[in-house]
């Protein structure tokens, strides 16, 4: 028994089965990421002043990853087009480049971006103690300029292991972010494209003055919760796409090509549609988290 229209299109719909299947799947994916993005909007609108951080992500790195992902979307189309023209050797090259781009994206994310966050520390100062840390927050200056107040001090701690020590009475920074080092420098008013280097400065913060403190883990804030969940899920999608691409780049693809080249072309088209979707999600992630 054979299922009709697995390779050729059904005349009245003009589509083969998998193409309808993938569009339906993508519709459901839109709702999945739609749910997450609407959660982002909901949380951001409801955030108390100062509790939605800005400028904590590395914009040049994000831009680089965006470019890598867009490039891979182009090469995957070229891979599909090569199959349609029955040029298998070219398909292998373009698909190889696509896979490399996807890998590069993940490597940057997992070996550079996320770990850098995991070693960054932030403390949210209690409302009543904000004045005490005025040299690092600059709230009088901000108020005069009509800018939202700052409640968080971020930077590198002296001893990460000491954070687990419940008996300690203080948090000790060895270096703090430029925003906190020069809070009344107009350059600190808005996030910058190039990340500003940390300033070596020992800052001691009394635990009694702290509302909440955490490394830049998901638990740090609603912002990082959303950031890690959405980029993590997006990363899993990239990984899924890569597994499918690699599967068809290996001899499996060559064997299918020999049996029925159109079938392989269809599969790459469908996988490519998924890849474009993953790319599109990143196009939303990048401005929402890095720029806005």
């Amino acid at each position: 028994m054979e299922i009709p229209y697995t390779v050729s299109a059904r005349p009245d719909t003009g589509l083969y089965n998998a193409k309808i299947g993938i569009w339906l799947f993508l519709a459901s994916e839109v709702m999945l990421f739609g749910g997450l993005f609407s959660a982002y909007v909901f949380l951001r609108i409801g955030a108390q002043p100062g509790y939605w951080p800005h400028g904590l992500l590395n914009v040049p790195v994000g831009t680089f990853n965006t470019a890598v992902l867009i490039a891979s979307s182009v090469t995957v189309v070229l891979a599909w087009a090569s199959l349609k023209m029955r040029q298998f050797a070219q398909y292998k090259i373009w698909m190889g480049i696509t896979i490399l781009c996807g890998l590069l994206f993940l490597i940057v994310k997992l070996t550079y971006e996320w770990p850098a966050k995991f070693h960054h520390f932030g403390v949210f100062i209690k409302k009543e103690a904000l004045a005490k840390y005025e040299p690092y927050l600059g709230n009088n200056y901000l108020e005069a300029k009509g800018l939202p107040e700052r409640v968080e001090i971020t930077g590198d701690v002296e001893d990460e292991a000491a954070l687990k020590d419940d008996t300690a009475k203080t948090y000790v920074f060895k270096a703090i972010d430029a925003v906190n080092a020069e809070p009344i420098n107009p350059e600190s008013d808005r996030p910058t494209f190039l990340p500003r280097p940390l300033v070596e400065k020992k800052v001691v913060i009394d635990k009694a003055d702290v509302d909440y403190a955490s490394m830049f883990y998901p638990r740090h804030s609603a912002y990082f919760s959303a950031y890690f969940l959405i980029t993590g899920l997006h990363g899993l999608h990239v990984l899924g796409g890569l597994i499918v691409f690699t599967y068809f780049w290996l001899p499996v693809g060559a064997n299918l090509y020999k049996r029925n080249p159109e079938h392989l072309a269809n599969r790459i088209e469908v996988a490519g549609l998924f890849w474009h979707f993953v790319d599109l999600v990143w196009i939303f992630v990048f401005p929402l988290f890095y720029l806005l």
Partner: protein
Amino acid sequence: METSTAIHSHDPHGPHGHGGHEEHHALGFWRTYVFSTDHKMIGIQYGITGLCFLFFGFCLMMVMRWQLAYPGQALPFIGKLLANVVRNDGMNAGGVPGVMTADFYNSLGAMHGTIMVFLGIVPVAFAAFGNYVVPLQIGAPDMTFPKINMASFHSFWVGGLIMLVSFFCPTGPAKSGWTSYSPLADLADQSTNVIFNGQTLWILGMVFLITSSLLGAVNFVTTIIQLRAPGMTWMRMPFFCWVQLITAFILLLAFPPLEAASFMQLMDRVFGTSFFLPHGVTLNSHLVNVAGGGSPLLWQHLFWFLAHPEVYVLILPGLGIIAEVLTNNTRRPMWGYKAAVFAALGIGFLSFIVWAHHMYLTGMGAAVSTFFQTTTILISVPSVIILTCLLLSLWGGSIRFTVPMLFATAFLPEFGIGGLTGIPLAFNSTDLYLHDTYYIIAHFHYIVAPGTIFAIFAGVYYWYPKASGRMMNEFWGKVHFWGTMVCMNIVFFPMFLQGMAGMHRRGFDGGATYDLNKPVIHWNTTISHAAWTMGAFQLIFIFNFFWSMKFGKKVGNNPWNSTTLEWSAPSPPPHGNFLEPVAIYRGPYEYSVPGHPVDFIPQCDPQGPRTDAGAHGH
């Protein structure tokens, strides 16, 4: 007459069926019964697993009913056994075996809801009947993606297994209601193992169930779009296929936001994030050490964004089954087929913009409430259209009261009660009073219990001969029907009275704490006894179901003299379904066509008038 008998008289072992049969036999036990890619076997797998879960969910409720009727007393017969099995001394309150703790009562309630909705009704009404019947009714050899179909079932039972395993967690299964509202669900059982606790396993189970629905939904929609047999135009599709198509779309688009919400709750529970926890949330009067900045309302929005469309996932397949059974047994075409199809499409669309009528009490604001109140009233219009079409189909029919028809006719008024009692809940002024009372329980159970579950029974009795080649016993079927019907109403009708008197739905002592419940609290025992009696009547069904497999009356391919395509295939249909290519010539319900020698013309019979559904004047 000749043509119709010619279609029925194919011998399943005849020359045409040869190829299909050989393939079927060559597969061996594992590929045939466990890792099957055949839509019929997957339908049966879903059906039997789902029916088991339905019964299990019902058992949980029967235990709860003891606590409501006789609060604080030891459960007789099985109380001692449960005291040993249930973790965390749930059935050993105060050291007395068989007495339930409030915690365990909450668990039972949460798991009853979860199991009935996600592991019982959706798998049976949508996945089982849809898988078995839809490809047959549209003339397809199988689903478009048979392997994905198999993956869907296997993802389903893994999800179910996780839910069952959660009963053996040290602190018992999820206990924050089937809605898993935050911050309650975020913080429940956080003191024990971070993964192996009821609420976290509930989330993991849901992720598998959502995946299963997604795979099934993609398959259903693609199959109905791509694999309709030649001549099966949209307006010639049986109503059942239409509602399955719409249901699949609802599942496809409504479930993912809950998946997103589940991921967030998982993060909250495992990684200490605070998606749903606001600043300053306290637990047992201690400040919880989280960043805060989250919103409990966010969970409710995302949850109900699924869970309201889910209500239509529960009822639409039921309406489809009723339409098939009703037209077949009134021997006349469905009244207003086209209107019903468009009404079902309307429901599918509107179901996405009514969700917040579950949240009137949260104080979302008057403007939001007004919007959702309006859409909620709007959606009753297409629902009433469909029910009216079904009701008017009875008019002037020559009704045969077969067992499936008994369930189908009972469905109409019962669903009507469920629907009409929903109207006071749609208006937020009346809802504020009725919210979270037994009135709500009665209202939605009238929709899903004597509603959808009756439709499921109708479907089982109706399609059983197709799947097995044998009839279920009619006498015991009727006993099952009358017993279930009477008990069902004794169970749910008094709950309206209790609810209107203000009895809260989650009281673990059956409302004894509050004086205002005094006038209605005596109903608790009546309801409980009716529920247990109804349980006994289900044993008749279970026995009948298995007994008939071996000893039921053998029947031909079309025992109900039906018009739709599944009855033109052999019983049971072989792998690949049809013995020869089928073509469709007319609408699905050509019963009692004037001038025709028999009172039904199958859709694939080349003789006779060629019409679309709803295009006839009789």
